[in-house]
């Protein structure tokens, strides 16, 4: 039988990937889409193993143990991760994907150099270019993703007090990045000139790893979702280049498709934050000259707030990263249940970038069994804010900061949820300090705003208790 017949299996896998990705973009079909993707992957793996010639030796040991070890670790990580840690997990998996492509490229180049099996002519150019590009993109993805993960984790805002992983990037760093990139391209050219010299390959790996770090270092924590999405796109491209190395279409199709789709998704996410991709990547902002908080505001206690909430007819809950950190979604739900039992209409206003990743809040609230219909996207909730009696902001700051409307400062032009249009605003927050963007929030100091200073979970628990006592 002609070996090319196996390619039909890869075609099936490719079709499953295309349909899967398509379905993942629509809420109703998304779970099916994910299943299609997984099936496509299974088909690709089975086809690959089925056509292998194992010979008489026991060389399948590496394959079996690799699949078992990787599958076990991956499954365990996926099952055990907290919902709050989801963004970091995606970043980490993404880094692994990029590293895998880069390692495959390295494996091929070292095998050929060690066995002195160097290609010639066109094949040399194709193979070595593909290997070089795969290494470049793969290592950038790995180190970039790892740094992004640490920024997501380390740059944590706990109700306003924020610690960030180093974010550093003067203007000239962009030139350094450009220089490193040009050096890598130069090295790539030299590997083709002198294919047997593995020093060049090692230099490419080292420089690419550095480039990944330089790339993510200047970007602030709030922009991490965009960066992770872009790195996701890159890891697809790395897989496509790997496809050129082994001459396999399914890698080229799946890889470049994910690369392109990832770029579109990155753009959609930028739009949700009203930012330009170029600005995100090359113009660092915020944080460095953060304003000092000089004004004060007297905090309220849960009993007061509970009294205000008594007998209202419409309430909008606006969650933010603080809710994710304190894991208080169940308390929030309980609070909403009590209000609803008293005949109040409760809705949730979800800002597109609330939390650290789009969709973060939806996942958390879904975990607390909040019905999907009650989660309202920003534009739709804003038209209702005027008739809202009480807006409860749980651990959010920048996403309700009216400063965004002024057209000045780092938040300029970012769409916000109009919490300030509600009759009473209740903010559950650790302190008055600034949010991720480093801008003071006027909303705190308005007369109609009541501040509940404290940990989200504790405050919501007390609030629920007070409501019950009424």
């Amino acid at each position: 039988m002609d070996e090319a017949v196996w390619d039909i299996g890869y075609l099936v896998a490719s079709i499953l990937f295309i349909m899967g990705l398509k379905k993942l973009g629509h809420p109703r079909t998304a779970p099916t889409g994910n299943l299609y993707g997984a099936m496509g992957m299974l088909v690709a793996v089975v086809v690959t193993i089925a056509q292998m010639d194992f010979g008489e030796t026991n060389n399948f040991i590496l394959i079996i143990s690799g699949l078992v070890i990787g599958g076990f670790i991956g499954y365990l990580m996926a099952i055990r991760v907290q919902m709050t840690g989801m963004p970091e997990m995606v970043a980490l998996f993404n880094g692994f994907g990029g590293a895998a492509s880069a390692l495959v490229a390295a494996s091929e180049v070292f095998r050929r150099i060690n066995e002195n099996d160097l290609p010639e002519g066109l094949e040399l150019h194709v193979a070595w270019t593909a290997i070089g590009l795969s290494a470049l993109v793969g290592w950038v993805t790995l180190t970039g993703s790892l740094l992004a993960m640490m920024k997501l984790k380390g740059g944590i805002e706990i109700f306003g007090t924020w610690y960030r992983t180093p974010t550093w990037g003067p203007e000239w760093l962009n030139y350094v990045k450009g220089f490193v990139l040009i050096s890598i391209v130069g090295l790539l050219y030299m590997t083709i000139e002198e294919p047997g010299n593995q020093d060049y390959v090692i230099a490419i790996i080292a420089l690419s790893s550095i480039l990944g770090i330089l790339f993510v270092l200047p970007i602030g924590g709030a922009d991490m979702p965009v960066v992770v999405s872009l790195l996701n796109s890159l890891s697809g491209i790395a897989a496509a280049f790997t496809g050129f190395i082994i001459g396999n279409n399914v890698l080229i199709i799946a890889g470049s498709m994910v690369g392109a789709a990832g770029l579109i998704l990155t753009n959609i996410m930028c739009k949700a934050m009203n930012r330009q991709l170029i600005d995100v990547l090359f113009k660092s902002f915020g944080g460095s000259d953060k304003e000092q908080v000089t004004r004060t505001k007297v905090g309220s206690d849960p009993e007061e707030v509970a009294m205000v909430c008594d007998g209202i007819s419409k309430c909008v809950i606006i969650p933010g990263y603080g809710m994710a950190v304190s894991q208080c979604q169940h308390q929030v739900r309980e609070f909403a249940d009590i209000l609803e039992a008293n005949g109040c209409e409760v809705k949730y206003g979800i800002h597109p970038v609330a939390g650290r990743m789009p969709g973060h809040m939806n996942v958390l609230l879904a975990e607390a069994s909040v019905p999907y219909e009650k989660l309202i996207e920003m534009d739709d909730i804003n038209s209702e804010m005027g008739e809202c009696d009480v807006a409860i902001v749980v651990g959010a700051n920048d996403t309700v900061n009216p400063a965004a409307r002024s057209g000045e400062g780092p938040l300029a032009g970012m769409p916000i949820i109009d919490a300030d249009k509600a009759r009473v605003v209740i903010m559950v927050k650790r302190s008055l300090s600034v949010g991720y963007a480093g801008v003071d929030n006027d909303l705190f100091y308005e007369d109609k705003t009541m501040m509940l200073f404290g940990d989200g979970k504790q405050m919501m628990t007390e609030l629920v208790a007070s409501l019950k006592d009424l």
């Binding site: 895998a100 279409n249 990743m357």
Partner: protein
């Protein structure tokens, strides 16, 4: 690699990029993270390359540097694939599971 194969591969590459651009149009914010995670799992397709290069003869017991690199790539790619699809599934179940549907 022959020229005709190369041009074929480049054709596929370019067309798939266009396909990817068209595939995703309007995505509700809720699905951004699951979509990213699912796409990321698909990019774990590099597992095929890792599998092929992991298939090495043990000459004298040591598979050699190239095979070890491929083996390591295989582990990482499998983590990416299995973990990626599982995590996406978990997220989607949480979002979709509460709407009375499946």
């Amino acid at each position: 690699m022959e020229l005709v194969t190369l041009i074929g591969a480049i054709t596929v590459f370019i067309l798939a990029i266009f396909l990817g651009f068209e595939l995703i149009t309007k995505v509700p914010a809720t699905l951004h993270t699951p979509l990213m995670s699912g796409a990321n799992a698909i990019s774990g397709i590099t597992i095929v390359g890792a599998l092929i290069f992991s298939n090495t003869d043990f000459n004298g017991g040591d598979p050699g540097l190239a095979a070890w690199l491929a083996f390591f790539a295989l582990i990482l790619a499998t983590i990416n694939v299995v973990g990626g699809f599982a995590v996406t599934n978990r997220m989607l179940n949480m979002i979709a599971g509460k709407r009375g549907g499946k």
